[in-house]
């Protein structure tokens, strides 16, 4: 049985500077604590910048409002992509890597100086990107900066700085683990959450190197060192960075799902082998997904596209479907073991819906899987992509994954970081109870509005579609759904930032005493260690409800997927 308290003593040396957390009994290196705080603060700063841009561009695409002029729309759209898709998420992940490689392993931070170097480079890169985009009109090139659209050299340099900084931080993750192992700070295998974060870190190394291959030549080209840069090759390398970057998010998010599930419902993973295998599938197959962006590009064969877009054989999708079973199943068993055993879904009714960590987790899983995952696999199908490429169905898909999924999960996790790492009392708890719902519903409407607009042919990254004069009147309706969703999501975002700021600035400085924030005084983390093998395997605790849920998911998946083939079959013949 796994023990909650670390088994290996932490030899006190001159280098050691740590505290023991009263709630989790984990040892937290003070370097780690400061690094987490710094990275988390930068993450929220970028979220605020990207969020302001989000509000303004959403109010522009909502055709009835149409707020900004074209110049500012495209400029802020560029900014929004960089701040949200890259800066907010990567800063948060770096905080997660510092946490996973030290606190969860009972270990010290072995390379704080290197980690700070990485952090400073990321900060300079991130802020520089914002600055360049705002100052230089030529640098309105979107997040993807497709060659031969040429931005200011500093634009590319800011990408490079940020990426190298992130790479350095990721390397400290591996250093920490190696040192922890060598110093025998933990025995046997790493915890599942660290295993998942390690998957994310390995993917990140690959991703960031590919980013360098794409962006460094673009930088040299913008300086005039290279006369030309082939646009097809740039796209291939850029998406070797851009898409796997989202898979890093995926692996990190799933790790956070496991953590949130344990922190709020006291789960034990149903089967470590099953869950770890799912992460391994990510590791081997998910990076092929960069082909998703090249499906209707000239110059590539059907075989190349089909093999890559399907992650060899949808094996990374299989990984996600495994997690989609194993996490709710673990929660069902844990809740049933507590006596919530009525019917198929009695455990779900009795789940801690008022606990932001739990509601955020559920929102994140539902939006990520039911909207993001299903639409992603469908539009990533080679032929179906012809109906979808660069229409609003695309941002509709990734707003479900990255906003509804990743961001909701990260936000929910923050509420526990504040008492446990910042050691500040969480303020505005009532707001925190509602925030995941507000944000989740808002981002769901954003996605649905975008997807239904895209189905009618509305292009993404387009200031004013009325020029086209072809989109049917129902587009006004779907764009209004998108706009209203954006307002709700931004409200949820403001709630989040307010809770974080008020807690950090006015919250009382104190050691955490509770694992749960609002829904009880018990410690699910502790309870998870008390779940016995008998309880895990007992017949009445088996996750029957989860099995029903995943089969319902599969039916919805099949309906959506096959409907798209039907839609494709109705259009012009093309080959």
């Amino acid at each position: 049985m796994a023990a909650l308290a670390p088994t290996t003593p932490w030899t006190s040396g001159a280098k050691d500077d740590y505290r023991v957390c009263g709630v989790t009994t984990l040892k937290v290196d003070m370097h780690t604590e400061r690094l987490i705080i710094a990275n988390a603060v930068m993450a929220v700063v970028c979220l605020v910048l990207g969020g302001i841009a989000a509000l303004l561009i959403a109010l522009t695409r909502w055709q009835a409002v149409h707020l900004l002029d074209a110049t500012w729309f495209y400029r802020l759209l560029t900014l929004h992509g960089i701040d949200m898709l890259i800066a907010w998420i990567v800063f948060f992940e770096m905080a997660g890597l510092h946490f996973g490689s030290t606190a969860l392993l009972n270990a010290r931070h072995a390379a704080p100086k290197l980690a700070w170097t990485g952090f400073i480079m990321m900060t300079v890169g991130g802020l520089m990107a914002n600055f360049v985009v705002l100052i230089d009109p030529k640098s309105t090139v979107m997040f993807s900066a497709y060659v031969p659209l040429k931005a200011h050299p500093l634009f590319y340099l800011s990408y490079i700085l940020f990426a190298v900084g992130a790479l350095i931080t990721t390397i400290t993750f591996f250093i920490n683990i190696v040192v922890a192992k060598r110093e025998k700070r933990f025995e046997g295998s790493m915890p599942l959450a660290v295993f998942g974060l390690m998957t994310a870190a390995i993917l990140a190394v690959y991703t960031l190197l590919e980013g360098a291959i794409a962006i460094v030549p673009a930088f040299l080209w913008s300086l005039g060192v290279f006369p030309t840069y082939d646009p097809g090759i740039y796209r291939n390398f850029f998406w070797g960075f851009g898409h796997p970057a989202q898979q890093v998010n995926l692996a990190a998010m799933v790790s956070i799902w496991y953590m949130l599930a344990q922190m709020t419902t006291g789960i034990r993973p149903v089967n470590e082998k099953f869950s770890r295998l799912a992460f391994i599938l990510y590791l081997f197959f998910i990076n092929l997904g960069s082909a998703h962006h090249l499906l209707v590009d000239p110059g590539l064969s059907f075989a190349w596209k089909a093999v890559n877009t399907s992650y060899a054989m949808y094996l990374a999708v299989l990984g996600s479907m495994m997690h989609a079973f194993s996490i709710p199943a673990a929660m069902e068993i844990a809740l049933r073991a507590k006596g919530h055993n009525k019917g198929l879904f009695g455990w779900l009714r009795n789940a801690p819906w008022g606990e932001p960590g739990f509601s955020g987790l559920v929102m994140s899983m539902v939006l990520f899987g039911w909207i993001g995952g299903v639409t992603g696999v469908t539009i990533g199908t080679e032929q179906i992509n012809m109906l979808v490429h660069n229409t609003m169905r695309l941002p509709g898909h990734f707003h479900a994954t990255v906003v509804g999924g990743t961001t909701t999960a990260f936000m929910a996790f923050t509420y526990y970081v504040i008492p446990l790492i910042f050691r500040k009392e969480l303020k505005l708890k009532k707001w925190a109870v509602w925030q995941p719902y507000v944000y989740g519903v808002g981002s769901a409407l954003v996605s649905l509005g975008m997807i239904t607009s895209g189905l009618q042919g509305v292009a993404r990254r387009n200031w004013d579609i009325t020029f086209a004069g072809v989109v049917p009147g129902t587009v006004d309706l779907t764009l209004a759904i998108f706009g209203i969703g954006a307002l709700i999501a931004v409200t949820g975002g403001i709630m989040y930032v307010t809770i974080v700021l008020v807690s950090i600035l006015t919250g009382e400085r104190k050691e955490a005493t509770n694992m749960l924030l609002v829904s009880g005084t018990n410690n699910p983390l502790l309870e998870s260690t008390q779940l016995t093998d008998e309880q895990m395997e007992s017949k009445q605790n088996q996750p029957k409800g989860t099995l029903v849920l995943v089969f319902a998911f599969l039916v919805w998946f099949a309906v959506y997927y096959l409907t798209n083939w039907w839609l494709l079959g109705r259009t012009w013949f093309i080959r």
């Binding site: 796994a2 023990a3 074209a70 110049t71 497709y146 060659v147 031969p148 659209l149 025995e187 295998s189 915890p191 599942l192 082939d230 646009p231 097809g232 796209r235 089967n271 090249l294 209707v296 590009d297 000239p298 059907f302 596209k305 399907s310 054989m313 949808y314 299989l318 479907m321 495994m322 079973f325 199943a329 080679e382 032929q383 012809m386 109906l387 979808v388 490429h389 660069n390 229409t391 042919g457 292009a459 993404r460 990254r461 200031w463 086209a468 072809v470 989109v471 049917p472 998870s528 099995l547 089969f551 599969l554 998946f557 083939w565 494709l568 259009t571 012009w572 013949f573 093309i574 080959r575």
Partner: protein
Amino acid sequence: MLAPEKIWWKPLGRMEKTWLTVAFVWCVFLTLMMPLWYFMGKQNVPTETYRTTPAQFNEKVQAFTEQYKIGEDTINGVTLPVVEAPPGSDVYLRASTWQWFPILQFRKGETYRLHISSMDLQHGFSLQPVNINLQILPQYDYVATIVPTSTGEFTIVCNEFCSLGHHTMIGKIIVKEK
């Protein structure tokens, strides 16, 4: 969050096995759909591509326009030639900031080899409302063999950001009965 027991390599439970099998079968089905449609379906992503240069491609567009021009029409206040080539022939469409040139006319049910390339930036060929979308790159001559199956006036929208006038980049394809 906790280290697992020493030995965690345990056989899967019955439900896990069930779900894993079903999910795997679904993944195999998803995989098979693509080659199946490739051989049986009427809508497949074009793969035929040639290297070109903007100047080379532009020459072809001009020659093609001169040879088959049948009239004129305006888009955004700009007068453009309307061009109809006989069925089965090579047809050229030029993308540049911010114009699709020329206006093409097709006959329903006939086959055309549609060449598209860009003179400058990356563009997106988005034919509405039939909703066919292709990525257009400079230096690549992308050939789509198409058969229009409906008649009327169709709009080509550019759906790849191509700097500030991007949203004004509109083109036209006209399809008439045979």
